[in-house]
Amino acid sequence: MIAQTLSETKAPLSEQSIFELIEVEQVFEVPKPGRSLFSRETVGLRALDGVRLNIRKGTSLAVVGESGSGKSTLLRVLLGLDKPTGGRALYHSKPILEGRASGIDFARDVAMVYQDARGSLDPRMTIGALIAEPLRHFNIVPPQDEAARVSQLLDRVGLPADAADRYPSGLSGGQVRRVAIARALASEPSVLVADEAVSGLDVSTQAQLLILLQSLQRDMGLTLIFITHDLGVASFLCAEIAIMYLGRIVETGPTDAVLGAPSHPYSAALRAAAPQFFEPLSEPLSGEIPSPLNLPAGCRFSTRCPKMQDDCRLKDPQLGKLGPQRAVACLHPLEQQ
């Protein structure tokens, strides 16, 4: 179970859970739109608004949402790069920021693969030096074994050993992603966070990387947190899914169950919008995602929801249990067959 209503219990968290987000809020003060030149007026941008999420050890979780859904902000909270303005973000039952501040263990245990893999690699370092950096920093192997470990890691991600002498600029898009993955694996982490790690690639390169990630996750028992906008990728790679809309997780559960029969009208719309061979093009959602500066009253999806009812404008639904493994933030979840 990756999400549950925790408000009623302060019971000890499941021992297995690695990350636990409880009512996490992240409000950024941004210049008020249309303020005068010299005004210092700001307005709160609710990038995350009541996020509840529980990530079990060894699972693979897809975080899905469109731009503006808060995926990236959530990622920064999980990685301890930003302190949430509200709620609690825990890593092994301790605040994530405390974990990050108290030494290099958190950084060693939670590794990251960026969407812009090329940008995440120092262009003046060779691939070998880039992979050796975490090896040395975290004291993974004695210095004399470094080169051997680098080759091993390159081999693990399907790159030839002579790639170590090259610079990132000499590699293709698919290859730099592999380097980024090898570098993330170098610290022998238990959690791998990947932000759109296969997007923007050709389908055949994407397929190669997905198979690699899947085998890594299975063989090394990694906990995989995979940010994506592609439901096909989510369903292939991840056992569980969390769908975000405007700063809140609106539905979570086992990927197959959620995508097979979505409960939240937004999940259903997302599911229908995903291209499917020879299906008629879906009836699109009306309008666009509202501004997080000006959240709609009641349910945040009510302005676009095809199933909107009167009370949706009044009450803001929280993520609540729906059956044993699933949770949804909707006052009128879609019927399950």
């Binding site: 262009p123 003046r124 030839p160 002579d162 000499g170 898009g173 050709d202 390169t205």
Partner: protein, 299 residues
């Protein structure tokens, strides 16, 4: 793949493409004839400067009033000046002064600029604001004027010229270093390093500095010529190196009064100066284009 219209980079098997370093190193001198020629010219200057006593046919400061203002001849290849000194010998010795002043003053400028630029680029806030306003104020004056001001404080002489020209170059160096630091600081690979809990100092040393030093090194090769020009200008104005030092700027100035009937007196050192400046700037450009891994994108 050369098709850049579709997005993404076409995958190329690593083993299939020849190693880029081998490719560029084998043929850089063939592919860039101007670069090669300029490098040879610059090297010739350096050799001439080092071995000046062996290369120069005469003592550069030996005055011989029998051969005053002689046109180029078999004995005096580049002619003689109004004191009967051999111009070729003076030009060769002049390379010493030019290169010493150019290199050492640029070192002062580069090191000073690196420290101030790093401090400004990394500190942010009021410290950065203050430093940059200071640099802006310095930059408002051309480096020659600044150098003149420093000379006024320090006095004349080769060592004073080195310091004055060096100080006058700190501003432009600091400015470029700072903008490079600002650019690097927001790169994703810096965040990636922070994510690994690598300490701030290490991030600066391992990731920020190398990405700043390289463009700085290129700047240095280009600015050596500017320093030489400024120092020659000082001598030309009569406030730099003192006579009878064989300094090009000084020689050009001395020939000024005789330019109508002994044009070689100014022309020869002028030509030596121009050729070195052009060669240095071509070498600088070539170094940047050839060895910057950011610009080197094979496949």
């Amino acid at each position: 793949m050369t098709v850049q219209i579709t997005k993404g980079v076409a995958a190329v098997p690593i083993a299939a493409t020849p190693s880029p370093s081998a490719k560029s190193r084998r043929s850089v001198f063939i592919r860039r004839p101007f670069f090669t020629a300029s490098l040879l010219i610059a090297a010739a200057y350096v050799l001439a400067a080092i071995f000046a006593p062996y290369v120069a046919p005469f003592d550069p400061v030996k005055q011989d009033f029998n051969v005053m203002m002689k046109a180029p001849s078999v004995v005096h290849w580049l002619g003689t000046d109004s004191y009967g000194q051999d111009i070729l010998s003076r030009v060769i010795y002049g390379a010493r002064y030019a290169l010493i002043i150019g290199i050492f003053s640029v070192m002062i400028g580069a090191v000073g600029g690196l420290i101030i630029g790093l401090a400004a680029g990394l500190s942010g806030g009021w410290a950065e604001w203050g430093l940059m306003r200071l640099i802006d104020a310095i930059l408002a004056l051309p480096s020659l004027i600044l150098a003149v001001a420093f000379i006024a404080i320090l006095g004349q002489g080769v060592d004073k010229v080195v310091i004055a020209v060096g100080l006058s170059m700190i501003g432009p160096f600091a400015r470029t270093v700072r903008s490079d630091v600002m650019q690097v600081r927001v790169q994703l690979f810096i965040e990636a390093a922070q994510l690994m809990s690598i300490s701030y100092l290490r991030v600066v040393l391992r990731h920020v500095l190398p990405n700043v030093i390289f463009p700085l090194a290129v700047q240095v090769t280009i600015r050596v010529s500017e320093a030489i020009l400024v120092s020659s200008s000082l001598s030309f104005l009569g406030i730099g190196v003192t006579p009878p030092t064989p300094d090009w700027g000084l020689m050009i100035a001395e020939g000024r009064d005789f330019v109508s009937f002994a044009p070689w007196m100014s022309a020869m050192p002028g030509f030596a100066l121009a050729l070195l400046l052009i060669a240095l700037s071509i070498v600088g450009d070539g170094v940047r284009e050839e060895f910057d891994p950011k610009l080197r994108r094979d496949s």
